[in-house]
């Protein structure tokens, strides 16, 4: 190691100074694990409060990083720093996003029936740990850290999925999640090793530079892309690694499903976008399209992603049509949503290297909308399930009368997921379609349109049950906290649909 010791020390201390939110989260994991040992009796609220305070604290320490930019940790190589993590607005957005998801799912966990009479410290610790892993995913600029972040978040998610030991479906979901997850991770690792072999570095910047200076074998890049995409697709719940989704979403405790479907997907997209940014910086065709691949000259990252987008939305929507379990339906819906989101990534990858390209605004805007609409939907499902034991679509019969506000909130969220004006989902999808059309991916936009129509079938299945089917059972009382959370999640969906101008600018500013 040719490093000067004082230089290294300097890098580490500067790194730690920019790393406070992660340190807070790490401490929070330890505190929560210990809390179960030292707090007597079953007090789910105590640990929930500890978690809340810790998450808010982490958010407060994260806030100033909005202005920060630059890489932290790592080493000096030829006079430039090759960091492990980067602090920029893009990372900040996704870190805040995951933090907010963790925070929003806390009240849901308190409300979840199976969680009411047990110690919850370990569960919260796992959620916080998953969030910590996602922090690393959002900021990773090094193959090792990207993979480590994914694994970190995954391990915590595996355990949280199987957290409810009395629930057999939880264990089943957990074992499927961990087995398929480790296969995906192994395949991805093999791809990463090829990238390392071809470029001789783990650092994104160095890889990009190496690719620009001396290039790499198109065949090798293509193989690595296919292998690596498997791992990323697993985290994004996108085709072809989407099949775990329904079982895990159904098996996991509903609050954690909500967390998984929002935060985990977002972190998966964050790490993926940053990864492909390193591979599509070049001006030459060899990076955007892999050039002289023997069987199809136009194959490249944009094509790969566009194909995955098309298949994700189609497979997700078609499979969702046949579901009668609400959580499974939302799981397939989230696969389809990953497809819509991948459209924006495909356009982004295609636009890199062009002066006007590379706008991540639509992706981020859709994620803002997705946060509210998907969490809103899961919130209602959790609340209703914990009071009526509702699992299936038919269990929601007559909810329009039994719990009018909850039903209204769920309807707004479902309409938003479907993409009907005036909701955030519509304006979000509009921008996704717009970028696709603008970048000559009209076929993908048309396919997304057709998919929207298909998805109306199953979203409306639930709406129909709530309003058009009768159920004589009495009113469902839901409590103030839940009503407040519902309002906090549903109102922004409408705001994003009606007055979205400022949010467009805002989401554009989070790109890199």
């Amino acid at each position: 190691m040719g490093n000067d010791f004082s230089q290294t020390q300097d890098l580490i201390s500067r790194g730690l100074a920019g790393f406070i939110p992660e340190l807070v989260l790490s401490a929070l994991v330890c505190v929560l694990l210990l809390a179960d040992l030292f707090i007597r009796g079953v007090k789910p609220r105590t640990t929930a409060w500890i978690a809340t305070i810790g998450l808010v604290l982490a958010g407060a320490t994260l806030w100033p990083r909005l202005a920060a930019s630059g890489e932290i940790f790592g080493w000096m190589q030829g006079g430039t720093q090759q960091g492990l993590l980067v602090t920029d607005r893009f990372a900040w957005f996704f870190q805040m996003f995951c933090l907010a998801t963790a925070l929003a799912t806390l009240p849901m966990a308190l409300d979840h029936a199976a969680f009411r009479a047990r110690r919850m410290g370990e569960y919260h610790a796992l959620v916080v740990a998953a969030t910590l892993g996602m922090f690393m995913m959002a900021g990773a600029v090094n193959l090792l850290i990207a993979w480590l972040g994914i694994e970190f978040a995954s391990m915590a998610s595996y355990l949280a999925t199987a957290f409810d030991k009395r629930d057999r479906r939880g264990s089943e979901g957990g074992i499927k999640y961990v087995i398929y997850g480790s296969v995906a991770s192994g395949v991805m690792l093999y791809g990463l090793s090829l990238i390392y072999g071809m470029t001789g570095s783990l650092h994104y910047g160095a890889i990009a530079q190496q690719l620009q200076v001396s290039g790499a074998s198109d065949l090798g890049l293509m193989t690595a892309a296919l292998l690596v995409f498997g791992g990323f697709a697993y985290k994004m719940a996108a085709f072809p690694m989407h099949f775990w989704c329904p079982d895990v979403y159904e098996g996991a405790p509903t609050p954690f499903t909500a967390y998984l479907s929002v935060a985990s997907k977002a972190a998966g997209f964050a790490v993926f976008v940053r990864f492909i940014a390193a591979f599509t910086t070049g001006e030459g065709p060899s990076f955007v399209a892999f050039g002289s691949v023997p069987f199809d000259a136009s194959f490249g990252w944009p094509t790969l992603i566009a194909a995955a987008a098309a298949l994700s939305m189609t497979v997700g929507n078609l499979a969702a049509l046949w579901q009668t379990n609400v959580k499974r339906m939302l799981a397939w819906s989230s696969v389809a949503q990953a497809g819509y989101l991948l459209m924006a990534v495909a356009v982004y990858a295609a636009g890199r290297g062009r002066p006007s390209g590379g706008d991540l605004g639509p992706l981020i805007f859709y994620f803002i909308a997705y946060f509210f609409m998907n969490l809103g939907a899961f919130h209602v499902v959790t609340v209703i399930a914990s009071r009526t034991g509702a699992q299936h679509v038919e269990d929601f019969n007559g909810l329009g009368r039994r719990a009018p506000w909850m039903a209204f909130g769920l309807t707004v969220c479902l309409l938003s997921l479907l993409g009907v004006p005036p909701t955030g989902g519509f304006t979000g999808k509009l921008q996704l379609l717009q970028t696709a059309v603008e970048n000559h991916l009209v076929w993908l936009a048309v396919l997304a349109g057709i998919n929207t129509a298909i998805s109306a079938f199953y979203y409306f299945k639930l709406i129909r049950c709530m309003y058009l089917h009768e159920n004589q059972a009495g009113l469902v009382t839901t409590g103030t906290t839940n009503a407040v959370l519902l309002a906090l999640l549903v109102l922004p969906v409408l705001v994003l649909g009606l007055a979205f101008s400022p949010f467009i600018e805002l989401s554009r500013s989070f790109g890199f």
Partner: protein, 105 residues
């Protein structure tokens, strides 16, 4: 006989990877699938070490470090998988991935 070089190791690793994929696809016992995953992980790790040894431009040990983390994470993953599996076994008396399938409708 040619001198042993990078490609030799890569071919060994490719063989391990293919064997691992084969195991993952054909086995139904969750523990056996896990063994297949270990093979895949080792293939990747072997790649990292081989590239580090034969083809990186400078004297850094990035590939070997990566391998250390692969080994650690493999251990953690095995622990998690087996813990969940034990719990599932207590409930259902099976470790068959396909049999643990009460959810599909």
């Amino acid at each position: 006989m040619p001198e042993i070089g990078l490609n030799h190791f890569l071919i060994v690793s490719a063989l391990l990877f293919s064997a691992g994929i084969g195991v993952v696809i054909s086995r139904k016992n969750a523990i056996a699938v896990l063994c297949g995953v270990e093979l895949i992980l080792n293939a990747a790790a072997l790649n990292f070490v081989a590239f580090n040894r034969y083809s990186t431009p400078d004297a850094r040990l990035d590939g070997q470090i990566f391998t250390i983390f692969i080994i650690i994470l493999a251990a953690a993953e095995a622990a998690v998988a087996l813990a969940i599996l034990l719990n599932l076994f207590q409930q259902t008396n099976t470790v068959d991935v396909d049999e643990a399938d009460t959810m599909k409708e």
